[in-house]
Amino acid sequence: MTAAVRAEGLVKTYGSTRALDGVDLEIPTGTVLGLLGPNGAGKTTAVRILTTLLRPDAGRAWVAGHDVLADPDAVRRAIGLSGQYAAVDEQLTGFENLYLVGRLYGKNKTDARARATELINRFRLDDAAGRPAKTYSGGMRRRLDLAGALVAEPAVVLLDEPTTGLDPRGRLDTWAVIGELVADGATVLLTTQYLEEADQLADTILVIDHGRVIASGTADQLKTEVGGERLEIVVGEPAELPLTARVLADVGAGEPSVDEQHRRVRVLVDAGTKSLIEALRRLDGEGVAVLDVSLHRPTLDDVFLSLTGHAAEEE
């Protein structure tokens, strides 16, 4: 299987800021790559280079087999882009927006009209198809923008934070569309600040921070890299926290963290359920009233925190 998207050593500087500092990436055909990182990590810069909107200072990239620097037009014919800010024309109706994009992809009037109608139906915009886009809600605008990216049935779809600013329903809708895209055989590059989203949608995740790739792999691999499971215990009385922490320090594989507000103690464990049973047994022996107990694999939040030293949604 060849790579639908490949980039080597991408560098882009703005003044003294290195927005991208030597990024390599590869997306096998028909898979989803999640580019995960906080604001300002360089995600959008990477997307702009791959979509020929921006020239890198160094490095090379190929999309759908075409060199983005040498043959940008061939790249443009093969991609669909949905940017961070919905790129729709406010005064045009939903239908006219999609028709316009179809025409600019080189379709004739009949084909452009047919494709616009098809996408309007698929994205549940039928009722609003004849209204100017400025009357649309944020979610509808996003759907229209996403539809615009799919007008030419592109082999590679690049989505820059497709769910930022959407309500939970809009987010689920967008996830469903991305799922369909992949089922149809498209290759998708998706940037996101939401760990849950990358976990849900991406086959491979690239964690990026300050323009550098700091980790890559499947969600499972990343979680394993950060280490075992977390044991979490909630107790009834704040006074019981120090004792609970001491017990968990004995049982666990690391330093427990205490959350006084939620009367919760967490610790990394390496023996899974055995550690859980051991902890409960000892707490019971000490007479501690345990309200809630859970054992879970690390989330991508944990991954990000341990890789970068700061949470993903900071900055």
Partner: protein, 266 residues
Amino acid sequence: MTVLTQGIRDGGIIAWRNLLNARRNIDWLFAAVVQPIMFVLLFAYVFGGALGGGEYREFLIAGIFVQTIAFNSAFTVIGLCNDLQKGIIDRFRSLPMSRLAVLLGRTTSDLVVSSLALLIMSLCGLLVGWRIRGSLLDAVLAYLLLLLFGFAMSWIGALIGLSAPSVEVAQSAGLMWLFPLSFISSAFVGAGTMPGPLKTIAEWNPFTAVIQSVRDLFGNEAPPGMAPPEGWPADNAVLYALVSSLVILAVFVPWSVAKYRRVASK
């Protein structure tokens, strides 16, 4: 498809989109339709009354035509600047469309607007007593020359629109340069009465040449006592107007296209 035919096809599609946009924007419609009417009536009666009545009004019309057409280049400035501020340019740039299309589409849609303005102004002109006294062919030539000049001005507007940091700046910058150019000309007075250097500037100002050509082609004469411009540009007004419009295009089309590539890839 060759670069040029694709540019024209895609430019046409963008022009369609711009005109659709314009039709739905009330402010814009007001500026494009009401402003020409206001200019004709205002100048015709405010200045006309003081400077020679009916004869002056007929003389003035060509000046107002040219000024209004030139001021319409502000639509290009604002339209382009607006597009650049929004995400829509990114969408366009990620499409396999001509790099020329956004600019050509904008200047073309503004050419349509200018044609509409010319029609409205001509009708208003007829109401205030202006007449076409030359041949039909000359009149057609005059209108074509006006549109060519407007198209050239639009490309200067394109460069300004691409250079402006914000729509607010574009709005004032788009008009500012036009005031001295349109007033230091024979638009409102015979350039012959201006003091030394101004007179020379007025005589070589392409505005004067276009205005003079239009007056000649329409057969509208200067009222007595209004000294017309002199010198080579005045004697060869149509040629000079044509050449200067083409020179402006030859300079500003490639300049704007180069600027567009740079600005849009920031």
